[in-house]
Symmetry: D3
Subunit: 335 residues, 6 copies
Amino acid sequence: MPRPVTLFTGQWADLPFEEVCKLASGWGYDGLEIACWGDHFDVAQAVSSPSYVASRREILDRYGLKVWAISNHLTGQAVCDNPIDERHQGILSPAVWGDGDAEGVRQRAASALKDTARAARLLGVDTVVGFTGSSIWHLVAMFPPVPPSMITRGYEDFAARWNPILDVFDSEGVRFAHEVHPSEIAYDYWSTVAALDAVEHREAFGLNFDPSHFVWQDLDPVGFLWDFKDRIYHVDCKESVKQFNGRNGRLGSHLPWGDPRRGWDFVSTGHGDVPWEPVFRMLNSIGYSGPISVEWEDAGMDRLVGAPDALAFVRKLTSIEPPEASFDAAFSSGS
Amino acid sequence: MPRPVTLFTGQWADLPFEEVCKLASGWGYDGLEIACWGDHFDVAQAVSSPSYVASRREILDRYGLKVWAISNHLTGQAVCDNPIDERHQGILSPAVWGDGDAEGVRQRAASALKDTARAARLLGVDTVVGFTGSSIWHLVAMFPPVPPSMITRGYEDFAARWNPILDVFDSEGVRFAHEVHPSEIAYDYWSTVAALDAVEHREAFGLNFDPSHFVWQDLDPVGFLWDFKDRIYHVDCKESVKQFNGRNGRLGSHLPWGDPRRGWDFVSTGHGDVPWEPVFRMLNSIGYSGPISVEWEDAGMDRLVGAPDALAFVRKLTSIEPPEASFDAAFSSGS
Amino acid sequence: MPRPVTLFTGQWADLPFEEVCKLASGWGYDGLEIACWGDHFDVAQAVSSPSYVASRREILDRYGLKVWAISNHLTGQAVCDNPIDERHQGILSPAVWGDGDAEGVRQRAASALKDTARAARLLGVDTVVGFTGSSIWHLVAMFPPVPPSMITRGYEDFAARWNPILDVFDSEGVRFAHEVHPSEIAYDYWSTVAALDAVEHREAFGLNFDPSHFVWQDLDPVGFLWDFKDRIYHVDCKESVKQFNGRNGRLGSHLPWGDPRRGWDFVSTGHGDVPWEPVFRMLNSIGYSGPISVEWEDAGMDRLVGAPDALAFVRKLTSIEPPEASFDAAFSSGS
Amino acid sequence: MPRPVTLFTGQWADLPFEEVCKLASGWGYDGLEIACWGDHFDVAQAVSSPSYVASRREILDRYGLKVWAISNHLTGQAVCDNPIDERHQGILSPAVWGDGDAEGVRQRAASALKDTARAARLLGVDTVVGFTGSSIWHLVAMFPPVPPSMITRGYEDFAARWNPILDVFDSEGVRFAHEVHPSEIAYDYWSTVAALDAVEHREAFGLNFDPSHFVWQDLDPVGFLWDFKDRIYHVDCKESVKQFNGRNGRLGSHLPWGDPRRGWDFVSTGHGDVPWEPVFRMLNSIGYSGPISVEWEDAGMDRLVGAPDALAFVRKLTSIEPPEASFDAAFSSGS
Amino acid sequence: MPRPVTLFTGQWADLPFEEVCKLASGWGYDGLEIACWGDHFDVAQAVSSPSYVASRREILDRYGLKVWAISNHLTGQAVCDNPIDERHQGILSPAVWGDGDAEGVRQRAASALKDTARAARLLGVDTVVGFTGSSIWHLVAMFPPVPPSMITRGYEDFAARWNPILDVFDSEGVRFAHEVHPSEIAYDYWSTVAALDAVEHREAFGLNFDPSHFVWQDLDPVGFLWDFKDRIYHVDCKESVKQFNGRNGRLGSHLPWGDPRRGWDFVSTGHGDVPWEPVFRMLNSIGYSGPISVEWEDAGMDRLVGAPDALAFVRKLTSIEPPEASFDAAFSSGS
Amino acid sequence: MPRPVTLFTGQWADLPFEEVCKLASGWGYDGLEIACWGDHFDVAQAVSSPSYVASRREILDRYGLKVWAISNHLTGQAVCDNPIDERHQGILSPAVWGDGDAEGVRQRAASALKDTARAARLLGVDTVVGFTGSSIWHLVAMFPPVPPSMITRGYEDFAARWNPILDVFDSEGVRFAHEVHPSEIAYDYWSTVAALDAVEHREAFGLNFDPSHFVWQDLDPVGFLWDFKDRIYHVDCKESVKQFNGRNGRLGSHLPWGDPRRGWDFVSTGHGDVPWEPVFRMLNSIGYSGPISVEWEDAGMDRLVGAPDALAFVRKLTSIEPPEASFDAAFSSGS
């Protein structure tokens, strides 16, 4: 049977959960990767009120949707970030933001992440997708000169803040799938190696494979899957496109999404530069057995047009599966 | 006569000024682009003690070196930066750093920049090369989501802090040449457009052309020169090389200079990916009349080997100059 | 609502107008870009006989087709061309060709172009698409050596011949959309700049964006749209493909269309090297509000197969439109 | 009428012939390129028993399938090969393998190839597709150093063994279409030239165009068609994809098909790097009038999914045909 | 012995012949490719006055210079050109231009070419380098539509005008080396094939290999040498560079040499995009035994700087020659 | 101190050892990588006659040459090869070839390799460079279909034959540096992984880094050094160049070295496509401390011209070394 295809609800959190369910079901999605914000999935309620989780399940069932993962990118971001500022206030729940004191925000975010593992268990889900934040991301330009010790401290801070969270994941039997992404502790190949080293490759900490930021960093997503094949816990089909012309730069020029002068941008899955067919073939090769989730974002297209378009694109790729039993190649192969 | 070639002393500030003069002169450089740190050029002394400037001149004369520009990247960095932290403490003079209170540091840095203009005038130099810093650079990843107003505020902050400085430049008849660079208000093509807009294209604010960061951002340095031809006030021949292989990323993975896993690195001028000959031909075409300064940095080579190597490379390029009078093409052109 | 898609009738002028209407309507085109040759639209009749225009309208209405532009490439070509020879005789009406005396041809062509503006107004159309011709195109190889004054004279000749025509356009409230194309006064980026300069950027003179000749000249059609965004008056989706192999050259080797040894050739829209999706996204970004016209030409495909194929291709692209209102990115954006 | 599309049965020889007919017919194939192994087509029976050929015809007719070519790659391989070993035993009929003595195998294979020509004639087919084998392929690495005389001997051996076979082809009015392929006497452009020279360009010896091995050898399949246009006797649409990343090599690392570490692999037609549309346009240009055969092989996809997918892909390409009569370009071409 | 290197005097014809000899000799050139214009070599005098040729020889001998070829590009251009206009007046001798009537100019040019063969013989030179002109070059854009018969007539015109000239070449034992070049009958690969066909591959008509115009047409100069190996009669090392950026076009935008907005330009030999080392290796492979001539043109460099720079570059390449006797590879080759 | 540069004597074995010493010394090489064939270094004599080794040392000392490695590619080739044929006879000593029986040849070769380790120890050298041969190389095309067991058997055969040899290496304290190369057990990245696995990564078996065959297989030599950094025992600077044009293929078309129709060829070091500077920087990064050996082979150049040319090229690269102590970057880095 081909893999199930889910819709990540993060970019739809302005709509009520049920409306998103109705839309996704209507387009033919098999399930959802549910965002833990908007009214989609409230972690605090989930761990305190048994009926809440049941109510979510009921809505999903009504629309014939399954769930393999929940996502808490926004709260995860605050666990390690430095500085903490108005951008975080814009994405955090009032309870986590509190008085906005940076260290307090970080600790409340860590606590909420532990609850996310518990909530996942209650929902019957094995995987939480999300971000880690990073206390050293803002040093990325390496100027003013960055002492090596600052970098070391950053990875240590990550391990110190996340290990206790991952302990809860372990006790709940849930795995965290970190999305490799700018602003995070692991944003490319070698920083992923360093982050895995920092938590001593504990099994609770794996990766959400989202190749959209690989495109403009010129990272090879196919080789990445091979090299980290034991840590691919979830897959997000987010897409991006390069639009370089000598004037548009890799770093985006502080321009908003959708501005044609950006050097790259998010586009509807299947409209960009991710080598999707090799990615899907490699997912088969490494034995990835989970769902394929469409994370849809495209400032130049209406999402109501794009979401079904992306589903059709991904479905075609999921039809590429190796045969059950390879026929006797030596006998029948003619050339 | 071919252009003069100078050596930027920033990467040599651990050596006494006179020793740098001796070295540069011995290799055959025509002059220096003097860094305003180390003991090379002390702005505070320069504006307070007439004999100080004379003493610098005397050393230069002793070694037959000229000077067309001084550089104050390190102090300029602090004018707009946010956050201000231990990295800045590492590069600022104790007087500018003071108690390290961020806003105080910024204001003292601004004041020092005004003095830099005055010091340049006293030294008989028309151009100050440097950085602006930026209050919005740390937003570069655009996540957590950045409200457009935060970007707008960043450019306004830049204008508000630099316009008073540039007023002093105007009154001293000196121009500021901003180096387009990550961490700064202008770090690529479109952010340069925005920065020039922010100060309403006043003549005091121009550019130091240093293509080393264009390489890994895939910006076209030759087209940049054409499009900003009226704002090219100085040229630094700093060089970099791309070393992508699917694993090494554009953003450097928090790895130190010289680590072979970085996606790009600085290398000795002439050893990298800058298209230098087209750059020099374009400098001729746009009528750039200033010096060519070698900014040498290469973690994999000894600078005592590299500096004369770079000079030889650049000298060869400066021999490419259009003829005084074009001969009658119609008559003699045979094919 | 997505943009309307029209069919340019130039490559169908061997068929009666009504038959073309029937075909286009049957395939689902929204309208036509009507060629002013064959029996499709007779400018002379249009300006002299009110019933003629009404008769054209009636046919269009019968097939539910709209019209946003008429095209008079063939007559326009003769306004500036030098030399005028048998090739022109092959494409001009007998009235314009007359005795074939070059200057007489040019003046009659200019007169016919003025009438084209009048006819457009009578038809209720705001845009005339076409060619300018050029007195200097044949100098393109720059050998024998071309004195700069010959080039200057060429642009002056263009302005002198077209300004009076454009005056009529202005008084009729119609705009001329010049198609950037070899053989014309503007055939690439910088010659477009020069041509716009020559007529002092008067609003009556704009551009028909047809990227087919950009492909083999290696011009960036997307950047072209951005840089000339206030002069994009019409869009023709003509397509071409590069077929270089070291032997096939950029200039076509005097070989006919469809010969596989040509270095490039026209192909059915969607079968070539134009980056159509970025083009359509850029048209959205610059606010182009007109129709998309399919100019179909492919010597290797039957046009009855190709025209509906091209329509399907273009329709899919017109479904890429930015949403009415961008949802609150800061709230719902998860990564 | 568009070209017929056939399915090559070589990769389906583990299934009974009738089942393959049923499948191919059900998907809409027009005919088969029948493999002379499995139970698909038994050359020995065909030449000895008139009813056998009739029985094959009957099955084909029952499913509405035509046949333009039969293929005997496996037996042909043994005609020249050196060494002959267990790999050959795996693919040859017991009668040809016999006692496995190398020279005996070669001679029995040659004899079987003559019978293949006779069988083709009996089936009413003009073309036999296949391999030649090669006594010098194993020298490909050129180390240990290969004396030029060894190469010369190889081509001579090929001519000596195949000329008598081709004599039978001539007398039967059948042509042999050699598939350019590693392991064969002709495996790239210049070895094809040498092989044609070796048999003095006799008409009985032509080529089966299968571009799958051109992809990873970086040969231009389109130019190949032009240069050998009088020897293109059959076309196999087999597809392959490059998957180089600096670690995966051109030569496949002794890894099995489907291993993602191979530098290239076979994939379902339309999923790889063959420039199919230019190939089909060139086939039109050189006047190739035969069938298009899908040779389907993809270790990562189920053949029951792939075979109809490939047919749909190829059918779309066969719709690209030049018009019956080119319309008067001079009259109607507008730009 | 390495090949001799000569300097083509065409771009130095504003200087007296003796001054050019002095310069070339001083730089170390082995000889000259003498232009038949300026005062360098007057064909009319050469055929009428025996002492004239002797006087040229004497100057050459004085400076130790040899001569293997003379060049008459400018007069050759007029043999077939259409139109003939002020550009030709600018490059022709008054005697050939006469009253400027086009057909008269062509015939006088043809006559002068015959004399050039005679003059070459008198000077003891076997090769005349030059241009043919073309009556169809101005049709290169293929719009207005060009009837195939116009192209055919162009090649016939070329044959009709040049065959009588080539008869004189034959009788003098001199060969004409046509330089493949825009504006000429043969300007790329396939037009070279057509031109050679037009004169039925007569031996008197060969090629001057000058790859500078191959660069921007994306023709492969190395493959060209192989395919036309029996017609390479002379070699000019003229160099050019591509400078495309999405705005600069292949056709040069009517911009003068040296303008940085051109898509390509001539540059000093060794500063551009010609793959010189493969070219020189191929010249060895095809057994080209003549001189290497530097045709120097670079609007951005002083020729007095460039000519010796180019000589040093070419000299290094001429040191690449296969060994006299290949050592026993089988014995000594270790890997 | 920069690394020493040696000359590999394999391609000079037709000359007496002393003559090679004289040449190498005269050009300025620091030492030799001595081939164990010709009269350069006779392994059999070395292990039987103490004075032989002393005599070699004496010659080396006379010319001031050092030695860090000896090479026995030719004999090593026969240890595993299958088939064994006249090519091997051409490169083996009569003693090893014996009666030419394949298995006997293999065993005598294995025995000679053990002696090579002993001879290296006697000469005071820690490294033997060479080839392994391979019983499965001839299966490279994977057709006729190769059962996986045949591949497995090949790696097992390699281990079985080489482990006893490597035991002698271990007892002598010498390391074997296998050159990754077609025809060998490890010829690319993944076959190197498999070969190292086969001998369980025992320390006696490492690699001779020779990137010449990486070029045409499109392997990344720089990443290879990083990934196998603990097994780089020796470095050969052999060079090759790609010459693809759509007709020339990766596999060389059975054409001899120096034929311009080959898709790639060996060229003098510095004249090809190996990215030497990144290679040398990576050698510094991984701490390779041995010599750089020039393996010179170029069928298009005289070796007496090429060998000093290559030395000059390599010397320049060895001047790129990281500084003894990195200066305080935080202090002096200006941008």
